[in-house]
């Protein structure tokens, strides 16, 4: 049959051009109004949301590096200027927007360009931030921000490293993985799998679908209550065994587990290679 079956008594749908126009205008008006409401909501919440985000980041940084209240945190933002072949570092005290930031410009080959004029804001492609902590002038570790493509959207995370680039903590800051599946990568036990791995182990890190041994799971659950240093001493033999093995994926969420692991691997690798270049110019203990 070439014709659709008509329900008895129902009028045949007509495609009247004026009707189609009315529907189109209707939908356009609804979308325009929606845009106005959403824009208003964004403007009304943006400042508070930024402050809340900053607060969350600050707590993640002090928590992972176990910083005392008087610690200083330097925020170093890295940018790429593709048109000029430059990498720009902008360093300033974290959370203090009134202080003038310091700019350090490198060529892509890694040569310092002290005389380079500041590139306009819109040419800067952000490549992530690094937080450099110090207590009374002594270095207290780093937190490297990283991003990775997750199952749905980007996963943004922090990796905390000590001065020898050993992982002190991993914290997922922003993600939209599925609740109960991919979202498990943001749980303390999953993130604890990275803690204590050396830079060499981290930059070669892989993911396995093997089931996690029960003694390892119990140890990972204990990290939150014990503090990273005490935990690493207490479970030393277990950590030695497990750090020679890959990260255990969340059951049913291998993609999310791989995404975070790949992100951590890349972030640590990049940071390790470029830190020696930047550190002498920051005027900070390195």
């Amino acid at each position: 049959m070439s014709e659709l079956v008509q329900i008895e008594g129902a009028p045949r749908p007509k495609s009247d051009p004026r009707e189609v126009m009315r529907i189109a205008i209707n939908l356009v008006a609804v979308c325009a109004l929606s845009g106005v409401v959403l824009g208003g909501a964004f403007l009304g919440t943006e400042r508070v949301a930024r402050a809340a985000r900053l607060d969350g980041e600050r707590r993640a940084i002090s928590g992972m590096l176990a910083l005392p209240p008087g610690a200083r945190v330097l925020e170093v933002s890295q940018y790429l200027v593709p048109a000029r072949g430059e990498v720009v570092y902008v360093a300033g005290e974290y959370g203090n927007e009134s202080a003038a930031p310091r700019r350090i410009v490198f060529s892509l080959a890694g040569e310092l360009r002290p005389e380079a004029p500041a590139a306009p804001e819109k040419e800067l492609t952000p490549l992530g931030r690094t937080f450099v902590a110090s207590v009374d002038g002594a270095p207290a570790g780093f937190v490297v921000e990283g991003e990775s493509r997750g199952y749905k959207k980007r996963i943004r995370f922090f990796v905390a490293l000590d001065s020898a680039f050993v992982v002190r903590g991993v914290r997922v800051i922003e993600h939209e993985e599925d609740p109960g599946l991919g979202a498990e990568i943001a749980t303390p036990w999953f993130q604890a799998q990275y803690v204590g791995r050396s830079a060499e182990q981290t930059t070669a890190l892989d993911v396995t679908k093997d089931p996690m041994p029960e003694d390892w799971r119990a140890a990972l659950d204990a990290l939150a209550g014990e503090g990273a240093d005490a935990w690493r001493t207490k479970h030393a033999p277990l950590l030695e065994r497990e750090h020679a093995r890959p990260v255990y994926a969340v059951t049913g969420a291998t993609i999310s587990s791989r995404a975070l692991t790949r992100g951590v691997r890349t972030a640590v690798d990049h940071f390790r290679r470029r830190w020696g270049l930047v550190a002498p110019h920051l005027g900070e203990p390195s």
Binding site: R22, I23, N26, L27, A29, V30, C31, S34, V37, L38, A41, F42, G44, T45, E46, V48, A49, A52, R53, D55, G56, E176, D178, P179, G180, A183
Partner: protein, 213 residues
């Protein structure tokens, strides 16, 4: 419900949403989120408040613009209206309650697809003037909120031995109730209880269980 009927008053509409047509226990709508977030009272409360706000705002919006919406595209328009209010509330929660938002933020976005909200828009708000639509939204939202809180209380008490994060027992009496399967059992038990109440008040028992989001 036809437009010819005189709309019921505020009190009747609110009680209807909480008891006679409780979205979770009587209409058996939106059971998925009701199971997913109700492991504690606090989670249930926050999602309930978000649903209440979205339901009221969407019902009011639809009641206000119902004359202007072309009937052939009414469902897409309802969906856009719900999505707008969900996004606005999502932004507000992320800004003003970041700690709680970190726990249930993922579920707040899912409110767009909650069957209860769009079904109230189609069944009630699109056929009624502003005031009854507002009270129906309040009633349905409160009914959903109370259902989530009651389920959350039962599961937190039995699963974690606590209420509002406050430890009542030194042990976890029935850990099973904190798991997803325990959520279904909690809803079933409470649904039976609500049916019993309605039966004693002379109403019909819930037809129960549809495969609705």
């Amino acid at each position: 419900m036809s437009t010819a009927e005189r709309p019921p008053g505020a009190r009747a509409l609110i009680l209807n949403g909480i008891f006679a047509e409780n979205p979770v226990f009587r209409l058996a709508l939106s059971l998925c989120p009701a199971v997913a977030v109700t492991t504690t009272i606090a989670n249930g409360l926050l999602l309930g408040v978000a649903v209440l706000a979205v339901q009221v705002l969407s019902s009011v919006t639809v009641a206000l613009v119902r004359g202007a919406i072309h009937p052939r595209v009414r469902i897409p328009v309802y969906t856009i209206i719900i999505a707008v209010w969900v996004s606005a509330i999502d932004m507000a929660l992320a800004a003003f309650m970041p700690a709680l938002y970190a726990q249930v933020g993922l579920y707040v976005k899912l409110i767009v697809a909650f069957a209860i909200i769009i079904s109230r828009l189609e069944a009630f708000a699109s056929r009624q003037p502003l005031v009854p639509a507002f009270w129906d939204g309040v009633g349905m939202g409160l009914g959903f909120l109370l259902a989530l809180v009651v389920i959350g209380a039962l599961r937190e008490l039995l699963g974690a031995g606590a209420l509002m994060g406050l430890k009542l027992f030194p042990v976890k009496p029935l850990l099973f109730f904190a798991l997803p399967a325990g959520g279904f059992f909690s809803i079933a038990l409470l649904m039976a209880f609500f049916n019993h109440l309605e039966h004693r008040r002379g109403g019909k028992p819930s037809s129960g269980g549809g495969a609705h989001g």
